[in-house]
């Protein structure tokens, strides 16, 4: 074995590739770091964490997950999150889809005024509106109810949902709708049989976006829900926050239970999501 050096030809493109790879690696470390840290803590007890915050999870306390799930009511939180988010997303998709369909396809009186009205709501940060909302919810008997939270979620996400879908619907050639009209279909069936299926990429985008956003929503939930059995996953951490003591280990375990579904959605649907965001008009 002689120590011969082999000259590797380095092209400009190769260099650029290497730089890009390096950048991606650094960014990945930067963004996964906190996640890995929380994941590690979720398997360690608070005492272990206090001793060494950055230690490895050996031995791994998997029983903490069972304890959170069964003893700390996380099964209920999970079920609440699933039902509330799914209902809100389903309503958002249908109502937002119909509204977007109308904004994109029909000309009617006060159209732009209506559009502006829907959008004007997003200029206020939630911290401003939440107090008024609280009062309204109390007045209508929706305070501390899951139905109330679903309605609030629908209303806060509706503008952006309409916006994304409207942009997509507007790019569907109008010949398609006219062909369907001539084929004998009513406006109602055209919405279900043409608009929605053709706009599937955009629909998928809004479904994924809304699911993730609402799954993580904390502010409205913490203000509008007081009863423990009605809480959603993001509120679960409240259980481990005492006046004097914070059970950091269990908070991490709870967080992991809340985060994992979101990570799974990203893993399985990220391609769909990118497709929908960048989708061109239908040919």
């Amino acid at each position: 074995m002689s120590a011969r050096t082999i000259a590797v030809p380095v092209s400009g493109a190769g260099l650029r590739m290497a730089a890009l790879l390096l950048l991606i690696v650094v960014y990945t470390l930067y963004s996964t770091g906190p996640f890995v840290w929380v994941a590690a803590m979720s398997l360690r007890t608070t005492t272990e964490i206090a001793a060494n915050p950055y230690g490895m999870p050996w031995p791994a306390h998997f029983e903490k997950f069972a304890s959170a799930w069964f003893d700390s009511n996380y099964d209920t939180y999970f079920l609440n999150s699933v039902t509330i988010v799914l209902s809100a997303v389903a309503l958002l998709t249908i109502i937002g889809g119909m509204a977007a369909h109308c904004f994109a396809r029909y000309r009617f009186r006060f159209k732009s005024a209506l559009y502006f009205l829907i959008f004007s709501t997003i200029i206020f940060p939630p911290q401003v509106t939440v107090i008024g909302l609280f009062q309204i919810m109390v007045d209508y008997g929706l305070y501390n109810t899951r139905v109330g939270l679903v309605l609030v979620y629908v209303s806060i996400q509706l503008p952006i949902t309409i916006y994304i879908l409207e942009a997509f619907f507007a790019r569907i050639p109008k010949d398609l709708f006219e062909a369907a009209r001539i084929d004998g279909y009513s406006e109602w069936s055209i919405f279900w049989r043409i608009s929605l299926p053709v706009a599937m990429p955009a629909i998928a985008t809004t479904v994924i976006l809304n699911t993730i956003l609402l799954w993580n929503e904390f502010l409205y939930a913490v203000v509008l829900i007081t009863e423990d059995d009605k809480r959603t996953l993001p509120l679960g951490v409240l259980r481990f926050l005492g006046d004097q003591l914070e059970d950091v280990g269990m908070i991490a375990t709870g967080l992991m239970i809340a985060i994992v579904p979101v990570v799974l959605i990203y893993v399985f649907f990220s391609e769909r999501l990118i497709q929908g965001m960048t989708a061109g008009a239908v040919k």
């Binding site: 050639p173 010949d175 398609l176 006219e178 062909a179 369907a180 009209r181 001539i182 084929d183 004998g184 279909y185 009513s186 043409i194 299926p197 053709v198 599937m200 239908v282 040919k283």
Partner: protein, 357 residues
């Protein structure tokens, strides 16, 4: 099987008038072509028949029945769009069956009908593909098949061939003619292509600026255009239109003369001569036009000779391959007298010699 009648149909967009006082009567089983330059209101007219646009005034009848207020879905018409408008999320099979499924609940009947039509237009092997996996010609066929499956009262076409390449256009033209014969259905066909109009139409309706300029059999319209607009729109190269004055039974083109009685003496007319009706003569006294050759186009089968006869636009003669003309020659042209057409210099409308005006 149906007749379509348009009575004084108008369409206004705000205060813009897109279609004015259109009267067309399409007979049962007729192939009617709406022909005209872009923006003349052909599509608007067709879309009013389809029910995709409201009718501002006038009456539309299908089979004698007033249709103005009947929604598109109840008019029993099928339309082939220029863009084909295939549903991108459905297979060819579903695209073709979509309209029929709405009216016919029995799935087996729909399936049978789709298969039958697909076989007749050569789409069988593509039935399970989605539109994006088809070529332009195949998509066009699916659009056609979708209309045929429905077996509608009236077929409407809006420039269905304009997205095809030239060769495909020729073969599809022939196929559409065959289909029309086989189905003996009423068809209304919009195009700006005069070759399509001439070859396919039982009758053509030529439109200009939202109005009907002339309706008739293609050859009748070609031979006897009702106005200078029709004369210049039909025919390639177009009809030569030469300003002339009439005196004592002679039409004077400025560079030649044509004997023709029945025109009012002293009136200004436009003399219309088709390029193929002109011939070269050696005798200057016979000439209806004379002038210097300014360019020659040898097209193989024929030669186009452009002559400056001092009447503004060059006069074009269409001769055979062996046309004896060279650049800068001075030529004298004659025409078959019965092929000469005359138009009023002011209104542009055709004048039949003998009309007392």
């Amino acid at each position: 099987m149906a007749t379509v009648t348009l009575e004084d149909i108008c369409k206004n967009y705000g205060n813009v008038s897109a279609v004015r006082d259109v009267n067309i009567s399409v007979a049962d089983g007729e192939f009617m072509v709406l022909l005209g330059p872009s923006g003349c209101g052909k599509s608007t007219t067709l879309r009013m028949i389809a029910g995709l646009e409201t009718i501002s005034s006038g009456t539309l009848r299908i089979d004698g029945e007033r249709m103005n207020a009947v929604p598109a879905k109840n008019r029993d018409i099928a339309m082939v769009f220029q863009s084909y408008a295939l549903y991108p999320h459905m297979t060819v099979r579903d695209n073709m069956g979509f309209g029929l499924r709405r009216r016919q609940k029995d799935k087996a009947v729909v399936a049978r009908r789709v298969n039958e039509v697909a076989a007749s237009i050569g789409l069988t092997e593509y039935l399970d593909r989605k539109p994006h996996a088809l070529s332009g010609g195949q998509r066009q066929r699916v659009a056609l098949g979708r209309a045929i499956v429905r077996d509608p009262k009236v077929f409407l076409f809006d420039e269905p061939l304009s997205n095809l390449d030239a060769a495909l256009r020729v073969s599809t033209r022939a196929e559409l003619t065959r289909l029309h014969r086989e189905l003996s259905a009423t068809m209304i066909y919009v195009t700006h292509d005069q070759v399509e109009a001439m070859t396919m139409g039982d009758r053509v309706c030529i439109m200009s600026h939202g109005e009907v300029a002339q309706i008739g059999k293609p050859m009748d319209v070609y031979l006897n255009p009702a106005s200078t607009f029709v004369a210049s729109f039909l025919g390639n190269p177009q009809m030569n239109l030469i300003p002339a004055t009439v005196s004592e039974g002679v039409v004077d083109s400025g560079s030649g003369k044509l004997a023709r009685s029945g025109l009012m003496s002293g009136s200004k007319v436009i003399l219309g001569l088709r390029p193929e009706d002109l011939a070269i003569t050696g005798d200057a006294n016979d000439a209806v036009l004379s002038g210097r050759v300014i360019s020659l186009e040898a097209l193989g089968a024929e030669t186009l000779v452009h002559i400056d006869a001092g009447s503004g636009k060059p006069v074009i003669l269409r001769g055979g391959r062996e046309t004896p003309a060279r650049l800068d020659d001075v030529l004298h042209l004659t025409c078959k007298p019965h092929m000469a057409r005359f138009f009023d210099a002011e209104t542009g409308l055709a004048i039949t010699p003998g009309d007392t005006q």
